[in-house]
Amino acid sequence: MTFKSSQRILRKLPRENAFYFFTSIGNYTGISADSLEEFMKKILEVNTKSLEFHLYRGDFQKWIEGTLEDKTLSDEIRKLQQSKPLGNELRDNLYLTVSKHFEKLKKSSF
């Protein structure tokens, strides 16, 4: 990871590109994240139903790869999806995956 790419991934996004957490089709929780750091924090805050909804639709993977432009993290989440975690197991594993990756990015962005 280069300094430049890490900085780019960690940038704050405009409102229209933020990640919005839903629990099912059309049901928005009121929780959103406009950066990877905020996304990481919100994983601990949202209902696990929301995490399940987005993980199995591929929404996290799509947002992280398409909007944040972080293919490595997107692939890691894709791998996590294959182990089919649910509930708090999903929350814990997702948080660990994202936070470890976030720390690496943080270090390489200095």
Partner: protein
């Protein structure tokens, strides 16, 4: 007896004409005059007057989209909003072609109720996630997809005394 609308006086004949138009707006003045036992020119004059006064707002056509092979879903969205921005959110929603009705309501919280039409669930979700949720002032959204419609009609007009 004559009754008063907000801007003009309506008599029994006006109300009868409105009732006939509401049941079928495709009738000729002659047909309506025949039914109401008045001259077609009288019907014409009354209708023109009610159009000018804005009592008759428009003549529309009701199309059965399913018979045209058009598949779609309808959903009702309840949008919880920041009270300072509710009007702006409602205005933005009204500009979207997918929204077929947008209303505000004051229950415990100020909210917007919108009826939305989309090709399928995925398109509905995408519309809400990408066009509605990012609007400043939107706090939460609850969406119910309509699975079966039992009734849909305009409120039939009754002459108020």
């Amino acid at each position: 007896m004559k009754v008063h609308s907000k801007t003009m006086t309506l008599d029994k004949l006006d109300w009868d004409i409105l009732k006939l138009l509401q049941s079928n707006a495709n009738q000729t003045y002659t047909e309506m005059g025949h039914r109401l036992k008045v001259a077609h020119s009288t019907v014409y004059e009354r209708i023109k007057r009610m159009e000018q006064e804005g009592i008759i707002k428009e003549y529309t056509v009701s199309i059965d989209l399913e018979k045209l092979g058009k598949k779609y879903i309808t959903a009702i969205m309840t949008i919880f909003t920041d009270p300072k921005l509710t009007e702006e959110v409602a205005q933005k929603l009204s500009e979207m072609s997918e929204m077929v009705e947008v209303d505000t309501s004051l229950s415990e919280e100020l909210l917007i109720i919108a009826k939305v039409v989309a090709d399928d669930q995925e398109k509905l979700h995408s519309l809400i996630a990408h066009k509605v949720v990012p609007l400043p002032g939107v706090l939460r959204i609850r969406t119910s997809i309509i699975t079966k419609k039992f009734k849909e009609t305009e409120l039939p007009i009754e002459r108020s005394e």
